[in-house]
Amino acid sequence: MIVDVIVIGGGASGLAAAISVKKRNKQVLLIERENELGGILNQCIHNGFGLEVFKEEYTGPEYAYKFIEEFNDLKIDYLLNTTVIKLVKNGDEFVVTISSTAQGLKEIKAKAVIISSGCYERTRGQIAMPGERPRGVITAGSAQRYLNINGYMVGKKAFILGSGDIGLIMARRMHLEGAEVLGVAEIMPYSNGLNRNIVQCLNDFDIPLYLSHTVTNVESDDSKRLKAITIQQVDERFNPISGTEKRFEVDTLLLSIGLIPDITLLDDLSVEVDQKTKSSKINQAYETSVPGLFICGNSLQVHDLVDNVSKESSRAGNCTADFLENKFKPRKKINIIPGKNILYVAPQYLDFGWDFTDLIISFRSSKKLEKAIAKVYQGDNLVYQKRRTFVVPAEMETISFPYQELNDSQDIRVELEEL
């Protein structure tokens, strides 16, 4: 037996992708390792989801439920409590090895695969934070799951490193559940979270935000439980400035220092990886360098808005259906290159074998720009431009324009021109 599409991961991305493929009358099997669909949305109990997709504001679980209902109405096949442990390609077929208590170890074949496996949190180890290694230093997302799903508080007195949205939202949650939150430190001179979260999670509760600060020492008590942390201001090159030390006695340090696409499943396939997004490179159809292997959501690029995840994954699902309908004739491809003030772009390739009307490019700026123009060049030729205000690295930008005018012999460059 061979299924048309296997979708790996049943969060916001996988649900939207599976729904759009199913609507094109393809056979879909979605695999989820947790015991329910919805992914991380289930622990994001705050509101702010859905304004773009539903024109209404929902909490994470509500937003997930909208998609789960549609998913169930379409009678899409899925497996819960099931982990994909291996993904390989034999000729034109993908072989997905799953493992679960119910099914044991089993191989399932598919004509196409959509990776929607989300991302994981950067940990203390990845930033080489100095000091001891006590209990009490924990990623914000893990603490969020403990708090919102299980009802366990990880501490009574907390400090937060990193101003990513999860960190800000956890500052408010812990405060409202009775913990004392002493502050948030951010190594960059600007916040990495959305503005609204600075206002309603920190300012509302007088929680101080220390910009250009980082944690430079971690102390533990005799039993190796966190006792105190020290933060320090950093210079432009992120070196701590002596004399700026502030010590906080806390039992918890939450880390909100970044999310990294989880593409460990692609290890056995030789996909081309973008060092900037830390995920697979794709063409405009969300297809990786392995034909028939698609990727979307936070496993492609870390999003700040779930609405964009849904929209993107829905497009990826449609492209997967196109692939199954042989609408794709491999042709020449050109690079899409991040230019001035751009951190990364996705897609990284434009493949002329896909028949589309519009080219949609997501990108992040490499610095804060109050007013800017996003410009797309092919060679010296300006092919698209649009004004943007308050462009910050924390917020993903998307542009969309027709590309019939583009030629297949020169690369495309995306730039942000500061005004």
Binding site: T83, S100, P130, E132, Y146, M153, E177
Partner: protein, 482 residues
């Protein structure tokens, strides 16, 4: 009344416990931590050295060459993991090549097997990422890598099934000698008695000695080593252990492939004031990166998943100090067991028992001694066919709890059970590697909490990371306060 009390359950204390269980003697092991292998044995390079660099005729030289050989036996008896990497000691220029020749001479005198000098080109064949600045290499094929936590678990588990007793969270706070026996006070209020006392307290060994001796014959200073761990996805980046030339500070910053596929960079070597305080620093970790880069090109620094520090217990005595106390008869010290302590641990145990304590003159052999330990299933290392067979017998092998290291529900259950079962997050991580991978437990810890809670009928509020006071949670939400 015990015949022997061993203070400290690192790799050395555990190996001694196992060696003593060969005899009809009653042995108790006291450990201040909540698990075996929790201080010096917890954080080190995991290398079984060939014995190439200790001073000839020293105990370190003899016991490391011997210890290295014993690992081959222990692999069979105790199912101790071994990764036969071999090692390259590298030279970069004429002066270093001269030092490399001196080192080769030491290896010859210490009777290290199979060593040989390789040209850069020869070495490059097996190590494509060897630094292009290297000119010559001393190859040491018997150098290998083990898994230090498993060494301690294996030795202690085997000791326990052969009759040894083990108490954790037992800090020795007093030692007295009454006539011909010792009274050892634990946690200030519990007393145990024994005929012979073995001080294998590692970093604390001088403090333990100080509880009964006026003039402690050695003094321990902490020498801190900082490390980076590179994710196992970089496996194969180097295949041998790469050493620089040794200096008076030790063996230097190494690149060491690990048994489970990660790659270790480090350690630096820094004397510290507080020997109980393993901290990392910006400067120390920068030093590690800089020096590792002298051994290999293209180090995948972007795949670092963890940094940590370990403390080596260096004595002001030039060798391992393995002797009976000069002041108190029946008290035996194992002082200054720094590197190559892990290499030598099984040889240290045999040397202590047979040549220092002469146990065979005192006690009969234990006729029921079982040298074998039940194999631990490492599910992800099995072939698909073997996996299928096991899952059929036990469906819980199908449930992946730690997705990074692919550790199954059944393996975690096993880690909670058995003679050395653990009910802490760290204990389970040490036994199974759940939480040791890319996400560092961010995903699986919650699932393990639930499993511990169920297995031990513990409220999640009472589950600890490691020691008693390291409870994971402070309270439940929405629980009305009285």
């Amino acid at each position: 009344m015990y015949d022997y009390i061993i203070i400290g359950a690192g790799v050395v204390g555990s190996a001694i416990a196992r060696e003593l269980s060969l005899y009809q003697a009653k042995t108790l092991v006291l450990e201040k931590e909540n698990d075996v292998a929790n201080v010096q044995s917890l954080a080190n390079s995991a290398i079984v050295h060939s014995g190439h660099n200790p001073e000839p005729n020293s105990l370190k030289a003899r016991l490391s060459v011997w210890g290295n050989k014993l690992y081959e036996e222990m692999e069979k008896e105790l199912d101790i993991p071994l990764l036969r990497t071999g090692a390259y000691v590298v030279a970069h220029n004429a002066e270093e090549e001269r030092q490399l020749e001196e080192l080769t001479e030491l290896a010859r005198i210490n009777q290290v097997p199979e060593f040989k000098i390789l040209s850069f080109e020869e070495a490059l064949k097996d190590e494509p990422n060897l630094s292009k600045t290297v000119t010559k290499v001393l190859s040491l094929p018997t150098t290998k890598v083990t898994y230090p936590w498993e060494v301690a678990f294996a030795a202690m588990e085997n000791a326990l099934i052969n009759g040894v007793e083990f108490i954790k969270n037992a800090l020795v706070t007093g030692i007295k000698k009454e006539f011909d026996y010792f009274v050892v006070t634990v946690n200030n209020h519990i007393e145990y008695q024994c005929r012979y006392l073995i001080n294998s307290a590692g970093v604390a060994s001088d403090d333990i000695a100080g509880l009964i001796e006026k003039n402690v014959p050695f003094h321990i200073t902490g020498r801190k080593g900082e490390y980076f761990v590179i994710d196992k996805r970089a496996k194969g980046f180097v295949n041998h252990i790469l050493y620089p030339l040794p200096t008076e500070l030790g063996k230097g910053v190494l690149i060491t492939p690990q048994y489970h596929g990660e790659i270790l960079l480090g350690p630096n070597s820094e004397l510290v004031e507080d020997k109980y305080l393993p901290t990392t620093s910006f400067a120390g970790l920068a030093y590690v990166k800089e020096h590792a880069a002298m051994l290999a090109d293209n180090i995948p620094f972007n795949q670092i998943i963890r940094s940590f520090a370990g403390i080596r217990s260096t004595a002001d005595y030039d060798d391992f100090y393995i002797k009976e106390s000069l002041e108190v008869k029946g008290l035996f010290h194992l002082g200054g067991i720094d590197s190559p302590g892990l290499t030598a641990c099984f040889a240290i145990a045999k040397y202590l028992v047979n040549e220092v304590m002469n146990v065979d003159n005192i006690y009969q052999l234990n006729p029921d001694f079982n040298p074998y330990r039940k194999k631990r299933v490492m599910f992800h290392k099995l072939s698909d066919v073997e996996k299928q067979v096991l899952i059929k017998e036990e469906p819980m092998y199908g449930n992946i709890i730690c997705k990074c290291e692919k550790i199954t529900e059944k393996e975690i259950l096993e880690a909670m059970r058995g003679p050395l079962g653990s009910n802490t997050i760290k204990g389970i991580k040490k036994r199974t590697r759940a939480g040791a991978g890319l996400c560092q437990g961010g995903y699986c810890e919650e699932k393990i909490v639930k499993m511990i809670s169920k297995e031990f009928n513990l409220s999640p509020m009472d589950i600890a990371y490691d020691k008693e006071n390291t409870k994971l949670f402070t309270q439940e939400t929405k629980v009305l306060k009285k």
